[in-house]
Symmetry: C2
Subunit: 370 residues, 2 copies
Amino acid sequence: MIDSIDASFSIEWTHRLRFAQRAFDVGNEIDTLIEELQPVRILAVLDKGLADTNPEFIEVLDAWRGREERVCGDVLVLPGGEDSKNDLNAVNSVLESIDENGICRRSCILVIGGGAVLDAVGFSSSIGHRGIPLIRVPSTTLSQGDSGVGVKNGVNLFGKKNFIGVFDPPFAVVNDSTLLKSLPDEHWRAGLSEAVKVALIKDTALFEEIERNADALLQRDTAKMNSVLQKSATLHLHHITNGGDPFERLEARPLDFGHWAAHKLEQLADFQISHGDAVAIGLAVDIRCSVALGLLENEIAERIISLLQKLGFPTSHQELKNPILLDGIEEFRQHLGGTLTLLMLEGFEQPIDIHALDVNIVRQAIEKLM
Amino acid sequence: MIDSIDASFSIEWTHRLRFAQRAFDVGNEIDTLIEELQPVRILAVLDKGLADTNPEFIEVLDAWRGREERVCGDVLVLPGGEDSKNDLNAVNSVLESIDENGICRRSCILVIGGGAVLDAVGFSSSIGHRGIPLIRVPSTTLSQGDSGVGVKNGVNLFGKKNFIGVFDPPFAVVNDSTLLKSLPDEHWRAGLSEAVKVALIKDTALFEEIERNADALLQRDTAKMNSVLQKSATLHLHHITNGGDPFERLEARPLDFGHWAAHKLEQLADFQISHGDAVAIGLAVDIRCSVALGLLENEIAERIISLLQKLGFPTSHQELKNPILLDGIEEFRQHLGGTLTLLMLEGFEQPIDIHALDVNIVRQAIEKLM
């Protein structure tokens, strides 16, 4: 008799990303993707933030629902913002809607919203019936340039960011630039901090483009914002699909540059700071740490921090002085597990992994920012 | 500017199955697998049914814990049985233990128990930190021959079987034959109904082996049971790894033969019937349907049903007369979605998919069984 079997198999995914204008108009991206997927039913979920501020889009959405017979019942409207990920209300609402509307694995969930809503709805669609196809329509600069393009979802539990979630590629992501118009300034700029992050690691030309167009970006130049977001989204997507580690089984997570402090700061600030602002501050901390470690020239650090400030971001926060901030390093390690791996910068497109970060270096870095 | 990206990528898994005796002894399968995985911490979870009935194994487990320093805190003991999947208590307990013991993605969860406990713990390990490696040690004939070998997990919600769950291969599965000794008779025979199922579809020699050894199997001949379970487990595993559809993206699910009625019957009987017995009855229903549809010779049907009875299984139940049973067909379709696809039998190793099942055929089939 045999006593052991090792059988390998692989699963293939296609990650679809569409850059659109008025994606819900007749024959545009949403119609095309649904034609490709052929769902038997569609559950539509909408971020309350968008519902409240963008009546023009609601009209467009209603028109689409009017001609798409497979949409079930009412659009499910969920509150957004990181705070909405702190309980299971959103997840439970989606699961109940899946049940009540007979949404199955041959159906589809279409969600329009910011990163927090995309995360909670994505988690629900991944676990409902062991996986219902998802079409994500990110409605913020942050989700269009970064999180909405990813293959992760999750919600917070026990006060810990994304404590539960899964890796599960959506069927498609549609970045519709017309959705960005109604964003408040704080959310408008938010995607730029993640764009600066990915540009520093992977694309100096993008960094220079952001630098060159900083004023126009701050003054809400849509074409220039779209150019930056498309490049940021494409860099993030190719990191996933070509980077060799789409489900993050290895210890290094280069795209989490600046995120250990950002995540902890959000928690210490009781989520009264936007993710975009938190990431800008987190980047400033790790850039200052890179200098304190003797890795990065001070001149480059000043250039980056000055760009963040020019884009309207804070690069400091009173909670940086809170000693609990340092717990964020261990929590970051623990979420991924194993050896601590943080990314620091030696220069443009010159990331370097480190496996320990002395608290005195962090204190020194923060001192420079206060 | 580009307006569309379609990027494909694939993820590889290795499905490890070990057939063992005293797997927890020094240098045996558990030690070897942990040596391969190198987890930083281990959370051990145990089925209360096993804890209550197998003191010999508890001693073995304690000895292992005594020398394995990476095991955190106490063993988490969870109630088992299908009923335990009807709420989120087990899932919540595991998530709390993950949090309290600092279990991360470089740690591992080791679970010993029956199918329901494996399912609930597997779901928790799949969603905790977006995926913690899992070693499953199935402790029943049913889980050793079928469910414990699979790549699915889940718990029931809204009264619907496995309403939430994910596809996620465990790191390894260890079938330890010494765990089966303490099973009550009803659980001892349970794995044989799934073995008969897979034998009918894929392996006539296994069907004949079960037929030839029916008396010995009923009288708890461990060697003969192990032989059947190993073949059943191997057939199930190879169906997953070689069948071309490990995550069940297609509509056909051949290994769910007889399961639409089994699942609904469990619910109608308020889970007071074992899954093994329910599957035997479900098989009897679909075999009788195959005859009523003119697909299968009556003689073969009688031979199969008579074997199930000889093995100690019921092939009838008062709830088969409950008209709500027929809702099971639509619920089965809905769980997978799309077109109804049920497997019927034209003969040994001659399965055939059908896409509609007339209620009168089902009534006629059930009449024959009452």
